[in-house]
Each structure stands twice: as structure tokens, then as C-alpha cells.
Amino acid sequence: MLRLRGSKLNALTLVLLLCFAVVSVVGCGGDQSKTNGDQTKTNGNQKSTGDDVIRIGLLYPLTGSLAKLGQEEQKGALLAAELRNAKGGINGKKIEWVIGDAPDPQAAVTETERLITVEKVDIIQGSYSSGVAYAASAVAEKHKKIYWECGGVADNITQRGFKYLFRFGQTGTSNGETAIKLVEDIVAKELNKDVKSLKIGIIHEDSAFGTSVADGAEKYAKAQGLNVVIREGYSMNTKDLSSLILKLKKANVDILVPTTYVADGLLLFKQMKELNYNPLAVVMGGNAIQDFKLAMGDEVNGLMHADITMPRTNYDYCPGLEEFNKEWMKKYNQEPYCAHPIRTFAGANVLFDVIEQAGSTDPDKIAEVARSLDLPYGSTATGWGVKFAPEGDPMMGTNLRAQAFGCIWHDGNIETLWPEEAAWPGVKTKLPWVR
């Protein structure tokens, strides 16, 4: 027995404390085996012989506060490899993901070091979170290894002139711009109003994600001569948005462009209803996810988002999307929670094509091939093209042919409605958005 100044720590308590500790640690690494799917054997302890497999690092937040969407994005990549392997892999070799868990930027740094120095991968795909992406890619660049970013939208990820970093996905600025384009092309037209007469309010959670989207929206709106009357950020952990909503009400904001995460988004809609604030339309700067429908039921119909390509997007414009939807349904027996796995799925497929063309995973060869790609819009499962900003460009490494699409809740489903080529057949707007 240990004695601590008069108290006794007996064996039972010690055992129980140990159990607590074990559960904590397990909780931190808990879900990896679930999301590994077929890759359970490849959890990093086996070093490949190199000849019959292609090992690629896969770094996402699988635990912690970003776990939900981190896991969803990872699933998209896992599915892409599964399907490609079923078709013979890359140049006859099977793809093998080497899994990493990055719940926050600090963990991202250590995990990236581990994947590169211990697991010896040449390429890492990630990351969902902009914070994780920013940190992890810096480590990869230091080691001169490829970082294939399919998720983080913060503009500054690709503003560092990194040679080995490629961002397949759209930027936060694109989300913001698309939101305003939706207001111009769709909302103003349907409401039969001059878009410059509408009062626009841009609110956002104040981390890198929300801020970059809001910046993009504000900049574009002002360039188009639109009337932005309010632009404000708030903490995503806020307990109360009523003051902000009262401000919007007082300023008679007609079109609300909020960029939120889930909990604050739900709080916003709840309090808007309580305070009887009903703008003509709401166009969110991202996060078109099922939670909104679960909380709001039928009232969600008419809510619009500028976001990644949704499952219900014109299949002709998005080669591979139909297959993705089918396989996802087969595997998970439900529709995707959000569009994020589609982006990682499409991005992973582009990566596989690049590896195939390069003939190896040598980072310099991969970088060369990637930068040489010149695919038009309508080439990938997200409907995007591929052309990475070249050396010398301030956004070197970002995909210039990726943009947020506009989507809307219609009959309980999210359907793409903008651009026109990508629109889901039969999609309808609901303006003004009356709840």
C-alpha cells in the first residue's frame, strides 16, 4: 500500500485508476480499427517489401473534436483505394494506406514525422482540418515528401511556396465567392429584385475556416458592388447568438450568409426562430450536413449552402460520382453524412493516376507529373478539373480548377443547383425561405 500523508491508496483503487487510464488512452485511439476497414493489417507495424505494394500515408483527425468529419473524409479515401485495388491497383501493385491520427495540429506534426521517418512513406494524403493541414504539410515539405491535401480550405495552406504540397480541394475563398454568386444568380433572380438593393449580412465562426470563407464572400461581394451591411465573427463555442441576431434584425439584413460549424449553426437557426428573424434567404458558406435536417425537419427545405460537390450532382458532369454513391450505399447502408468523402475520393483517384503516370512514388517525379496535369472541369468525381498553380504563383500548389458548388435542401435531400451544368435534375428553390 502506498501512503500519501495520511491517506491510503489501496490496491483496488490503484487498479481502478489504471483502468481509467487505459480507457482514456484507448478512447484516444479508439476508432482507428473501425475506420480501417480492409486495411486493419496495415496499421503501420508491418514494413512492406516495397515491390508488391504502394504505401501511402493517410492522416486525418480520427479522434478528438474533429473526429466526426475526419473519419468521414478518411472513409472516402479508403473506398477509393478499395475500388482501385479491385481493378488491379496501380501498375499491378496494390495500394496500402498507412494510417495516422491527427486530432489537432500538434499531433499532426508528430504523426507526420512518424509516417515519414518510421513508416518511410513518400506521400501523405490528408487532412480535413485546415489547422492540421497547415502544420503537417510543413513537416512533409521539410523532408521533401509529398503532401496531398484534399480537405483543408484555408487559403494560407498554399501561400508558402511549398514545392511538394498539392491541394486538390477548393479554398475557403471559393466557398465565400460561390455563396455570393448564388445570391446573384439564383436568389436575386427568383425574388425578382435588383441584387444591389439587397442587404447582405456575413457572419462566421472566427477560426481559420469561417474567417477565410467570410473574407472571400465579403471581398467578392464588395467587388461586385453589393451591399454588405454587417460582417461579424463569433466564437464557435458561443452559448448565445441572440445579440448578433438582434443586430441583424435591426439592420434589416435580407440575405444572411453564415459560415458555421454544427453546434453553433444549430444554435443560430434555433435562436433566429425564437427571435423571429426571418431573412429572405440563408446561404451558408459550407457544412451541408445531415445534422441540420435532423434538427429542423421539413423546415430545412430551402436552406442553401456553398459547399463541396454533393452526392446529388449531375452524374454526367462528375465521372465516378455515381459509382461512389453506389459503393458507399453498399458499404454503409445509408447516404453520406456530408460531401467530404466525395472530395477525398476524387482527390485520391487523381493521386493514384499521378502515381501511375510517374511510375513510382518518388516525390520529385510525383511533383513533376502533378504540376503537368491540365484537366478541364467535369473530369473528376467532384466535377472539378485539375490544374495546380505553378511555381511563382502566390497560391502555388492549389487546384485552380476546384470551386465550391451551390446546393439546396429540396424535399429533405441536398441537391446541387449551381453551376447549371452540375445541377441535379428536378432541383427547386424555395424563396423566400419561410419557416
Binding site: 500519501l4 500523508r5 495520511g6 491517506s7 491510503k8 491508496l9 489501496n10 483503487t13 481502478l16 485508476l17 481509467f20 487510464a21 480507457v23 482514456s24 484507448v26 478512447g27 484516444c28 479508439g30 476508432d31 479522434t63 478528438g64 473534436s65 474533429l66 473526429a67 466526426k68 472566427d206 461579424e232 465573427g233 463569433y234 466564437s235 463555442n237 458561443t238 452559448k239 448565445d240 447568438l241 441572440s242 445579440s243 448578433l244 438582434l246 443586430k247 435591426k250 454544427v262 453546434a263 444549430l266 444554435l267 434555433k270 435562436q271 426562430k273 425564437e274 427571435l275 423571429n276 445534422d291 435532423l294 434538427a295 425537419g297
Partner: protein
């Protein structure tokens, strides 16, 4: 003018939310000098329990309070006995670290068991408002406020009128003297902790009607609860309520007058000022010698 009135009402209602969480926290600190970093996580557990009760049994969260209080009370006692009781007599840093460990443990346990999905309880009155002239008061927040007041009254009654309540107060004033009066301090600590957790459990049940539920929801209230508790005076229950209302008001008004992002900065600034001018909090008194 309408706007000011609406702001004040909103502020007071939000303040009720802070107050209800702070009451349990201040009780635990006042009695046992334990800074319970896991307080928000007990709130989270209670919210999840309320959610499952609502989903499986169809019980309204406010009715579920009757089940939640005893359940969280027992959970509080069990956790206390297993983790805090063995180290209660050692340095305060150890109990603090233990509560931090509990915080991390519970967050990850919830993440593991229930995933990171945000869940909401939909009630027929989730969006209802009570009209007061031109103003709208959120019904769920009014309910929470009513629960806070009822609980505070009940607690004060208990602390003044019952033997256990008086022992708790005695122990918080001077533990050794209380022991001399025949109070079993070990049991008293245990019950006090249990009651503190039971109270935050009631808070969780009420708040599940207002907020989304996810493993890290306890963090949302973390900083604000500590500010409220210190502002009202550590161990002072009316102080916790007053502090809560004050912070709620400051939060609402500053959010309207200044960019909303400055909210926390404003009330933290006021918090610093209070600490400099009146460190024992608004209602706190200078503690008499003794204590432990």
C-alpha cells in the same frame, strides 16, 4: 428601446444558464477546495443521459430531472470515492490534476461510446416563445431559469435546515472544528460532491432543451463557469447566481454594442477588475482563519 429590453431579457436568461452550472461548481470548491475541471464533463454526461431517457422513454427533459438528480448524485459519489477521496488530504495540486484527468477521460469515453455526432432533443416547445409585450422569451430558457431558482432555493433550504446541510457548511468553515463537533468529514465531503454533481446534472437536463449535445459540450461552458464562480465568491451560492446573471447581461449587451467576437474579452476584463478591487468576489467575505 425594445431592443434594449430584449437584450436585457436575453442576458438574464443566458445568465440563468451560467448560474445553474456555477452553483454546483461553487459548492464543491467552497466545501472541499477542489477545483473541479471535470464539471463541464458531468454536465455533458447528464445531457446525454437526458437525451437517452427522452429517446427511449419519451420523457420530457424537465420531468427527467427527477431521475437525473439521483443518478448523477450516485455517479458523483462513486467517482469521488474512487478517485478523489484517496487523495483528498494530500496537496491541492493532486486533486486538481485528478479532475483534469477525469475531464479528459470522460470526453474520450463519450467520444468512444457515442461518437462526435451532435444530437438534439426535439420538443414540441423547442422553438416556442413567451410573449411579454413586444418581446419574445425563449420558453426553454425560461424553464431553465425557473429550475435554477427552484434549485437554489432548495439548496439554501437544505444547507440551513438539515443536519447534513449544516455539516457541509461546518466543514467548509473549519474542518477540524467540525470533526470535534462529531461531523464525519469523509462522508460529508462525499455527499457534498455528490450533491454538487447532482446539481450540475439538473443543469444538464434543463440545458439539453437549449443546446446541442456532443462529447465536448462541457468545454463550451468551462471558462465562463469559472469566471462566474470567482466573481460571485468561491463557495457562495447566491453569489454564483448573481455572478451568472451579471455575466449573462454583460455578454448580451457587449455583444450588441461591440463586435460579438469581443464578448469574452469584455467579461474577462471585468473579471480582472473585480479580482483587483474585491478579490473575494462580489458577495464573498474575507475567510476567517482556519479552513482546513
Amino acid at each position: 428601446m425594445d431592443v434594449i429590453q430584449q437584450l436585457v431579457i436575453n442576458g438574464l436568461l443566458t445568465g440563468g444558464v451560467f448560474a445553474i452550472i456555477a452553483v454546483g461548481l461553487t459548492l464543491i470548491f467552497g466545501v472541499m477546495k477542489i477545483i473541479n475541471f471535470a464539471h463541464g464533463e458531468f454536465l455533458m454526461i447528464a445531457m446525454y443521459l437526458t437525451y437517452w431517457i427522452n429517446v427511449k422513454m419519451g420523457l420530457d427533459p424537465f420531468v427527467a430531472i427527477l431521475l437525473i438528480f439521483p443518478t448523477m448524485f450516485v455517479i458523483g459519489i462513486v467517482v469521488y470515492k474512487l478517485t478523489l477521496n484517496p487523495i483528498i488530504n494530500s496537496r491541492e495540486e493532486l486533486t486538481l490534476l485528478m479532475t483534469v484527468a477525469l475531464m479528459i477521460f470522460f470526453q474520450n469515453l463519450a467520444l468512444m461510446l457515442w461518437s462526435a455526432d451532435v444530437r438534439s432533443i426535439s420538443l414540441p416547445y423547442s422553438y416556442s416563445t413567451i410573449a411579454l409585450g413586444n418581446l419574445g422569451l425563449s420558453l426553454t430558457k425560461v424553464g431553465t431559469f425557473a429550475v435554477t431558482i427552484a434549485m437554489a432555493i432548495g439548496l439554501l433550504f437544505f444547507l440551513n435546515q438539515s443536519w447534513l446541510g449544516r455539516s457541509i457548511r461546518a466543514v467548509s468553515q473549519n474542518r477540524d472544528a467540525a470533526q470535534l463537533m462529531g461531523v464525519n468529514t469523509i462522508k460529508t465531503y462525499m455527499y457534498a460532491f455528490g450533491i454538487g454533481i447532482g446539481i450540475v446534472g439538473v443543469a444538464g437536463a434543463a440545458l439539453s432543451t437549449v443546446y446541442g449535445i456532443y462529447p465536448l459540450v462541457g468545454q463550451q461552458f468551462g471558462t465562463a463557469s469559472f469566471v462566474v464562480v470567482v466573481l460571485g465568491g468561491l463557495g457562495n451560492i447566491p453569489g454564483a447566481i448573481l455572478g451568472g446573471l451579471l455575466i449573462g447581461l454583460i455578454d448580451a449587451i457587449s455583444g450588441f454594442v461591440l463586435p460579438v467576437g469581443f464578448n469574452e474579452a469584455v467579461y474577462l476584463l471585468i473579471f480582472i477588475l473585480v479580482l483587483l478591487i474585491k478579490p473575494n468576489g462580489i458577495l464573498g467575505k474575507a475567510t476567517a482563519g482556519g479552513g482546513r
